[in-house]
Symmetry: C2
Subunit: 328 residues, 2 copies
């Protein structure tokens, strides 16, 4: 079996998840973790693998695919085009509205260098995109719906933490059951923001803080909470640590559409994820598409790719023959 | 917009469904329906489209993709290799254990002729295969489960109809809720045939027939019913026609797997279909992959393909740019 040599740039939750995912894939080998921190301060799990400064990547190391584990706000817009000029790369850029410009920048760099760069991999964008595309293609007379949760939103949790008097907080995004039921019924409803998702907040307040004021500030916060039905629970730090330390997430992509000569039949497609660990699952999907990135490079392809452009067989460790025999 | 010229061979439930699906896709045009019956006996829905004898296809007509709507038992094993030598073709060959040999025969014919042949398209094999592949690649430490139903099994309904004293019958395959719940819980159970699916039969008996004998013959029938918990309901012909005339189907592909350094987290992926019309939905998927077949031919690809080998973007009417902007 050929072994795919993987490098990881960035060793946060996602980078650690990619390290775990590589260990589950016998055809992959972690060859280095690269960091902008002091490498001496970073301890990784895999024995015998060096932690090196990000600058070491400039030399052009023997890496088949470099997995970029930075954030979408500021890291990846610069990193992905930069490293696509040196390596085959994969990222999880998830700023949906900026994907076209990210694609253009990465495509130009990768094509000029003869490399393959796979962007926006994970579950949304990623597997959810795959499902939205397949569903829309299968049922042209229909509507796509995406629901997120139940899951932790880091951005919303951070917004609560910035309120004076708040020690710590955890925010869950939750699909509204009534909306899911309406969509599944095939009526293709028009749903407002409030009708689709609700928000539940677990907040640790300082001793003596004005809880009513904190709650009011949360539920009226523009963009983050004002457009949602929001519930606030005040709990102790011990309870937060005990009951809300995980990073669960998930969601639903649902499409219902009409078929038949007069649209008389309703067909429902639903894809659901229920994840104990958002970053570990994202990392697992990235690992499988790192394999696909390697395969495309082996075939001489170049430029920027997304999950929509890649045959799913490329993400599998199995041969086409084995897939047809065992799984098709 | 370019228009894809589609031919349909075989005008049963599936062929009629493909005709309806083409009408929902503005970039496709039905150019002919081909039949082994007397063309004068076949009336189609689309105005101005000729119904021609199957032999007319031998001349090499102006068709971009020929959709083969025959059965998997005897039609497609002969038809798909034969017509792949003349046209780009697509079929819904669903005899899972014979896919490797079907692939080999079709691949040889299509490659020799410089054509593209997409086989085993629909929902299982088809979308369910896509999901099984993506799920297995994303979660290497996990297990795939496929459940079918609630839906009508034509083969099982036919088996009941062959019992003396039976006028007509309809058989539903139904997933066992307890099995679904166990799989969703993440325990990756080993399930017997009986534990996964149950069978429900609606039977119209002749006046004065021995109902107990018919029921016994059904529930003990080897391969078809003996390994399942089977319920038999005797109803009138009127009830059968009123309540059981549809061809619903559906099912579930579920995979749960472990992530993390010690497999401490469980991640669940579930894909569900709930279909009013099995043949119309199958036909809708086929139509979208007829588009993909055309695209591959335009790119100069040749040979046999399955849904696992084809980027999902090829099945979409949207450009890569539009997909990245609106759907990724």
């Amino acid at each position: 079996m050929e072994t795919i040599k993987i490098g990881i740039l960035g060793y946060g939750n996602l980078g650690r998840g990619v390290e775990c995912a590589i260990a589950q894939n016998p055809d992959m080998k972690l060859v280095g973790v690269f960091t902008r921190r002091d490498p001496a301060s970073v301890t990784i799990r895999t024995p015998g693998v060096p932690v090196l400064p990000a600058e070491a990547l400039e030399k052009g190391l023997d890496i088949d695919v470099l997995v970029l584990c930075g954030g979408s706000a500021t890291d990846l817009p610069a990193q992905t085009p930069h490293y696509a000029a040196l390596y085959n790369v994969i990222d999880s850029f998830d700023n949906h509205s900026h994907i076209p410009q990210h694609f253009a920048a990465v495509d130009a760099a990768a094509k000029a260098a003869g490399k393959v760069a796979t962007i926006s991999t994970g579950w949304d964008p990623g597997l959810f995109s795959l499902m939205r595309c397949v569903a829309a293609s299968s049922l042209p007379q229909g509507e796509n719906y995406t629901f997120w949760g139940k899951g932790v939103s880091q951005g919303h949790s951070d917004a609560i933490r910035r309120i004076p008097g708040v020690v710590d907080a955890r925010q869950y995004t939750i699909p509204v059951e009534r909306a899911l039921a309406m969509v599944r019924s095939g009526v293709n409803p028009t749903l407002t923001t409030r009708e689709k998702h609700k928000r539940e907040c677990f907040v640790v307040a300082e001793e003596g803080a004005d809880l009513a004021a904190i709650e009011r500030e949360i539920v009226t916060m523009p963009a983050y909470f004002a457009d949602y039905d929001t519930t606030v629970h005040f709990i102790s730090l011990e309870e937060l640590r005990r009951d809300h330390s995980g990073i669960p997430h998930g969601g639903f992509v649902i499409r219902s559409g009409k078929t038949g000569a007069h649209g008389e039949n309703t067909e429902l497609m639903e894809f659901r994820l229920k994840l104990d660990s958002n970053p570990e699952f994202t990392a697992s999907v990235i690992a499988s598409y790192a394999r696909a990135t390697y395969r495309m490079a082996q075939k001489g392809e170049t430029g920027c790719k997304t999950i929509l452009d890649i045959p799913v067989a490329y993400a599998s460790p199995l041969s086409g023959e084995a897939l047809r025999k065992s799984l098709l």
